[in-house]
């Protein structure tokens, strides 16, 4: 396995108390595979990714347990210097908001070229040629003319392509894309997702796609991990989960989105609000909002039950949910 996260735990120490953002997350990605991590704001999906990349703000963040194995080696035990060599060349990240992730006072050519100067020791001139090549690879029209332009001179979709180019620069084995198309319009979103999928196939990369959009997941993912309150509540091949969810939260999410091909009556709405991470409910964290909750859910934390060989659900009543 290319990347394996085992029982990861992350907390944030704040003035008001300790926020438990990630509470024992485990997942893995193979080369050429796309794992979608689905969750709402505060579910811990981005924090997990930041811990994997080694870009978590510490403090206030703290990794309190678990392992992150990249090609079999626990990166949490590496020195910062070794970690930096993995970042960029081994794994790279694409952020949601390209305009704030790119440096506004450096031309995109300089920013792309910097990767080659720092990591590969190339000359400025050679790095510039590489930058143009990358921009062509992510299909930016007129790459040679635009290499000296600044981020604000590009449209949103083009900026996201530059982010992708930057992530690809050193041909990493793993790409983590954190809501890569959320800020984009649908027609541009389709262009960018297509490009990402093509490049992944071409380079046989592992891809972790972090998103809240069930539609995007259905379009591109192989596997899906649904997160809630810092835990994975369901993990399954993408087809199975849409056909028959094995966790009431997943089921609620699927039922609460309006669909393009259906004109529904009233939408199913998950009652209540996501929990406060400083005060996660005992037992199953989802129980205050769950229509299937019983007494056992208020006291016992559900383990990730094995639903089938490649499928797990953290619900005491996964059988009822699956068949109900």
């Amino acid at each position: 396995m290319l990347l394996e996260v085992r029982d990861l735990q992350v907390e944030f120490r704040t003035r008001d108390g300790v926020a438990k953002a990630v509470n024992g997350v485990s997942y893995g990605v193979d080369a050429g595979e796309t794992l979608a991590v689905l969750g709402e704001s505060g579910s811990g999906k981005s924090v997990t990714a930041q811990a994997v990349m080694g870009i978590l703000d510490m403090p206030p963040g703290r990794i309190t347990g678990g392992e992150i194995l990249f090609r079999g080696k626990d990166v949490l035990k590496l020195k910062e210097e070794e970690r930096r060599r993995i970042r960029g060349a081994g794994m790279a990240m694409i952020f949601q908001d390209a305009l704030s992730a790119l440096n506004p006072v450096l031309s995109v050519g300089d920013q792309l070229g910097e990767m080659f100067v720092v990591h590969r020791g190339m000359s400025k001139k050679a790095a510039r040629a590489k930058a143009i090549e990358l921009m062509e690879r992510v299909r930016i029209p007129g790459a040679a003319q635009r290499v000296g332009d600044y981020p604000h001179q590009f449209s949103g979709g083009m900026r996201q392509r530059i982010m992708i180019a930057m992530a690809l620069a050193l041909e990493p084995a793993l790409i983590i894309a954190d809501e890569p198309t959320t800020a984009l319009d649908v027609t541009v979103q389709a262009q960018v997702m297509d490009l990402l999928a093509d490049l992944q196939r071409e380079y046989h990369m592992g891809l972790i796609l972090i998103t809240h959009d069930l539609g995007v997941v259905a379009d591109v993912a192989d596997r899906i991990a649904v997160m809630y309150a810092g835990k994975i509540v369901e993990s399954a091949p993408v087809r199975d989960i849409y056909k028959a969810p094995a966790h009431p939260y997943t089921r609620g999410l699927l039922d609460s989105i309006p669909r393009l091909d259906q004109k529904g009556q009233e939408l199913y709405a998950i009652k209540g609000l996501p929990p406060n991470l400083m005060n996660i409910p005992p037992g199953c964290a989802f129980h205050p909002r769950c229509p299937m909750a019983q007494d056992v859910c208020r006291t016992d934390v559900p383990p990730l039950y094995e639903v089938s060989e490649d499928r797990g659900s953290a619900c005491h009543f996964w059988r009822e949910c699956l068949h109900g």
Binding site: E40, S41, S155, G156, G157, M158, D185, V186, T187, V188, Q189, A190, Q191, M193, D194, H212, D213, L214, G215, V216, V217, A218, D219, V238, R239, Y242, K243, A244, P245, P248, R251, G252, L253, L254, D255, S256, I257, P258, R259, L260, D261, Q262, K263, G264, Q265, E266, L267, Y268, A269, I270, K271, L273, P274, P291, M292, E320, C321, G324
Partner: protein
């Protein structure tokens, strides 16, 4: 169709582009809205969809008289409201209220919820006598599903979904007949979006409201709308009943837009045709001649650069009465099904 409550015709809004410090000179214009026509019937929901920069939010501001149009008219119950001022304008504004996109910035953080929801009464004192206002605010909180005891809390003490309920309560305070909602749920989490959409649905029948619902999310717009207008670069390119637009689109832009929406169904991903548009939306300062969509259209021909297509039922569908016979601004309008027909055996509505 029921009697129209809003009639918009030839609506235009240009923002001038100036150059020079001492001697300012107009060098061009951002053509945000460039000839929009539609009607809204009483009790109806009209959805307006389009990508960023298509002018949908400017239309919202014009409808609420927050901006004055460059040309065109907006008739509210037959009266043109674009020429009104002073007292008459205030009276109309009472009847057309707005719900904003971002519940984090549209509520004043220094005001209590009671003051925020009650503020419309300060501007329109005739709407409620002073002694009665607190009671009304409590009622409004209850109507939108918030605890009336929260009247003295501040916005930061609420979640995003609750804040949007506060924004909706404020919109309802003056008992308007029309609500213009500009992306009311796009800042919310999926599980909370459904709650707010259901609330808007319920309020519509409870208070006999007419909605103009502006959003970029096509699935949500279909869910809530009776009719849908698709905007591109300041104009409506196609408008019709929801099934006409979603199941029988005839404008290439609508078809591309619909085909690009990810459908939460992995089975559909193989047998779905995707139309991927090339390039970006042109700048509204420099709109292409003829059909404004032609620079990205795979059907564009020489005629499209010369003639502006009118928003009307296309010639070939004029004699039919089928769902394809609706207004579409394309010289080469043709039906194309891009949303797969409803998959049978979808899972039920809600757990257990």
């Amino acid at each position: 169709m029921a009697e129209p409550i809003l009639e918009v015709s030839g609506l235009v809004k240009y923002y001038p582009l100036m150059r020079g410090i001492l001697f300012k000179k107009q060098v061009g214009a951002v053509k945000a809205v460039d000839g929009v026509d539609f009607t809204l019937a009483k009790g109806e929901t009209l959805g307006i969809v389009g990508e960023s920069g298509c002018g949908k939010s400017t239309v919202a501001k014009l409808l609420c008289s927050l901006e004055r149009p460059t040309a065109g008219s907006i008739r509210f119950k037959g009266e043109d409201i674009t020429r009104l001022s002073g007292r008459a304008l205030r009276a109309v504004r009472r009847n057309i209220q707005m719900v904003f996109q971002d519940p984090y910035t549209s509520l004043n953080p220094r005001m209590t919820v009671g003051d925020i929801i009650g503020e419309p009464y300060e501007i329109h004192p005739e709407a409620a006598p002073k002694g009665d206002r607190r009671r009304r605010v409590r009622e409004l909180l209850d109507v939108v599903g918030l605890n009336p005891e929260y009247i003295n809390r501040y916005p930061h003490q609420f979640s995003g979904g609750q804040r949007q309920r506060i924004g909706i309560a404020r919109g309802l305070a003056l008992r308007p007949e029309v609500i213009v909602a500009d992306e009311p749920v796009s800042a919310l989490d999926v599980s909370v979006q459904a709650q707010v959409i259901n609330l808007l649905d319920r309020l519509q029948s409870e208070f006999d409201l007419s909605y103009v619902f502006i959003a970029h999310d096509l699935s949500i717009v279909r869910h809530i709308s009776d009719r849908v207008g698709v905007m591109y670069l300041g104009r409506i390119v196609e408008i019709g009943r929801d099934a006409e637009i979603y199941d029988h689109p005839t404008h290439p832009y609508t078809q591309a837009l619909l085909s690009a929406v990810p459908v939460p169904d992995p089975e559909a991903r193989e047998h779905r045709e995707r139309i991927i548009l090339t390039g970006d939306v042109p700048s509204p300062t420099n709109i292409p001649s003829g059909c404004r969509f032609r620079t990205r259209c795979w059907k564009a021909q020489e005629r499209c650069t010369r003639e502006v297509p009118a928003l009307a039922v296309p010639e070939e569908f004029r004699r039919t009465t089928g769902p394809a016979a609706h207004d579409s601004a394309c010289h080469f309008a043709a039906e194309k099904q891009v949303v797969p027909p409803e998959a049978p055996g979808g899972h039920g509505n809600g757990p257990g």
